[in-house]
Amino acid sequence: MNESNRFIEEFCHEAEELLSGVEDAVLDIEENPGDQEAVNRLFRAMHTIKGSGSMFGFDAIAEFSHHVETAMDKVRNGTVPVTKTLIDLILVSRDRITAMLAEANGDGPPADPREGEKIIASLKALLSSHGAAAPDENPPKETPEQASEPAKPVQQNQAVYRIRFSPDPDIFFTGMDPVILLYDLADMGECSVVAQTEKVPDLENLSPESCYLFWDIILTTAKRINAVKDVFVFVEDKCKIDIKTVEEEVITSEQMPGPRLGDILVERGDIDRKTLDKQFGTRKKIGERLVESGALSKEKIKSALNEQTVVSKMHKSAAASTVRVPSDRLDKLINLVGELVINQARLTQVASNREDTDLGESVEEIERLTGELRDSVLNIRMMPIGTTFNKFRRLVRDLSSQLNKEIELVTHGAETELDKTVLERLDDPLIHLIRNSLDHGVEPPGLRELKGKPAKGTIILSARHKGTNVVITIQDDGAGLNVDTIRQKAVEKGLIPENAELSDKKIFAQIFAPGFSTAKEVTSISGRGVGMDVVKRTIESLRGRIDIDSVPGEGTKITLILPLTLAIINGLLVSIDDDFFVLPLMSVEECVEIKSKEIEMINGRNILNVRGDMVPYIRLRDRFHMGNRRPEKEHIVITDVNDSRIGFVVDHVIGGHQTVIKPLGPAFKNIKDISGATILGDGTVALILDTNVLLESA
């Protein structure tokens, strides 16, 4: 029972993944109807869902996907053109399968079978109307495109070529450099080159102007064999070039083991089968044995080994290259590594107190290893943001047709990686922001044309790394925020005094107030005024921040700045009396020593003159009511928070600290200035300061 449950779960996971792939493929096809590759992807996904569906007893799903598969097959053959109706139908079918899956999984309402029948009926109707008998219904522009399709090489299928390139010894006289050719090959794909040196003569017979080397090259590329041959077109007559296809990736060959080294050598003609068989009496690896017995040179074996690695790798990547792990196991691992890091810091401290070089050395090694371990464990949790971005393509497509707007979603930096927990909690805020851009930002096409903008609006969603942060921007080319309307509304709601003089940015920030909405009417998409405050809160709970920039008539840009991970930050360790605090190193600009007297002189103003700049400061000792035993010399840590400089006065600055963040828990939920705690090398607890909050209260 449990076992079968696990399989069902597995199937559901797989199907979910495939379905999100389906959505991508459909949207790709919509953008570019000639995209044969996307059609293939779609067909394969449907095929797999059908196959594994019936294997695990989800007959309804299997049957339903069969119809979609049939439709895709027709598209593939070119009998049915890609139309909006078809795209819509496939998207609806995809949703239908998702619903059926949820039902099978037990966490969704039963899917209405009639709905499914309706979809199948319309699919069938569409197919018969475009049957082979009525090819003239195809839009004329489609036909030439389809005709040229088969000639195009199939992009995805990669092949492994084995090339032996033996240039003519006089090749240098022709002005050709064989190395250039090798570089050309390397540009085509994954390439490993082994130089064969067996023809190089003794030094006394060696002519520096001749080329004695020849090369064995293993090239993995999506290019066709002709393209590979083209590289050698200028040297063809003079050199011996032998190109063979070793392996063409076939989707079905998942379970085949890689070829054996001996077979490769025989196939290459480097050795005959007899010599090879003779070697099997001894027990070492075949490669070593052959070298030892002098049957082959080391280089030859090396190149054959290369081929073996490449080919087996290809087999492996065709089979499953990922492992699914429940995230709670990962969490446990990360916790353990966190503790290891803490203990390692302690060990380092202990070791530094005793002058034992042996101990010191091994501790240093452990320090390096823990560092690497920490990085790679944190890396496991890193996921490209692209999966999240892809979800929005559908959202934008559906919403823009619902709103009768033409909007294109452009994404940049889909490969940017982010901690999975951060990523998961980012979904809702991003959906909200994009909805806002769609609904309030981008104007209807008519209005846009009046304003001299292209009818089609653009929303740019981009992500990139910046230090230990990830910056995500959502930018539209819509109407922009209206400063006056927001101001008026904010005054109405009593958020700002009527005659307050505020910068545009401060006014924009008002839209994050709870219940704030300037939309005149509430739509199903947005305008209820719940949301922006939730967006802000979510981003802040992720230790991130949010910025708005807007130019009237040109658009709005919302920037989210988020930490890469929630588990570990780079901190600056400081102390006041015997208590330790950590400031996020990211925001620290500099540390300055100040004498008590200097502070006395400008007392009452809380502003310090740092090389001519006036920097406001907070004395943490006072803020936290920690008594008055100030040392003679205090230190001020100057930070840059939200573009304003602020100093924090502490007793001592101790130094950088890899801070493993421990939450303080619900007992401290009302504390604003402290965002968490960490444990230092000697076991004491240090508190992590929330500079954003401290700044606001300054």
Partner: protein, 179 residues
């Protein structure tokens, strides 16, 4: 007379607080520690004395004396930290309790426990599950879910309530508030 809800003989951990004996249901107690350095967390009421490092985890510690309105202990000789598990905001939380000394684990039958008196204790009645009797002594059995609820613990002292240091720094603190 017995207390509603207490139908079974249970074990209780007893401890001393200012010459009175208190008890907690043993199932909420995780362990008892000797006193270790506590890191103070600013802006919390006095009874939240700070956090400790419990094998790599950060655990808040409540001074039960201050929580119950008693004076701070003068001697820390026998002071212990009792680590308990409570539910705060639907979240299983580990909490440290600072007590004068830990006595023993006792078994009490339901008939040995009386309902809490309406008057005569300095504690809120809801904090007390019942009054146990052992020999001639009374044992105050605490209702841990009430004493250590999120509401009771998460009170942040407003900055204005903080004593302003009476020194030249006073001006500074004033300034901070005004801003």
């Amino acid at each position: 007379m017995s207390v509603q809800g207490i139908i079974r003989t249970s074990q209780y951990l007893t401890f001393k607080l200012d010459n009175e004996i208190y008890a907690m249901d043993i199932t909420t107690v995780r362990e008892v520690l000797d006193i270790i350095p506590i890191t103070k967390v600013p802006q919390m009421p006095d009874f939240m004395c700070g956090v400790i490092n419990l094998r790599g985890g950060v655990v808040p510690v409540v001074d039960l004396r201050l929580k119950f309105g008693l004076k701070k202990a003068t001697s820390l000789k026998e002071t212990c930290i009792v680590i308990i598990e409570v539910i705060l905001d639907d979240e299983q939380t580990i909490l440290g309790i600072l007590v004068d000394s830990v006595l023993e684990v006792i078994s009490l039958d339901p008939e040995q426990i009386d309902p809490p008196p309406r008057i005569g204790t300095r504690l809120k009645t809801e904090f007390i599950r019942g009054m146990g009797k052992k020999d001639t002594e009374f044992i105050i059995i605490l209702e841990t879910t009430k004493v250590f609820s999120a509401q009771e613990l998460a009170i942040v002292q407003a900055a204005d309530d903080m004593p302003v240091p009476e020194t030249s720094e006073g001006a500074n603190a004033e300034e901070e508030k005004n801003e």
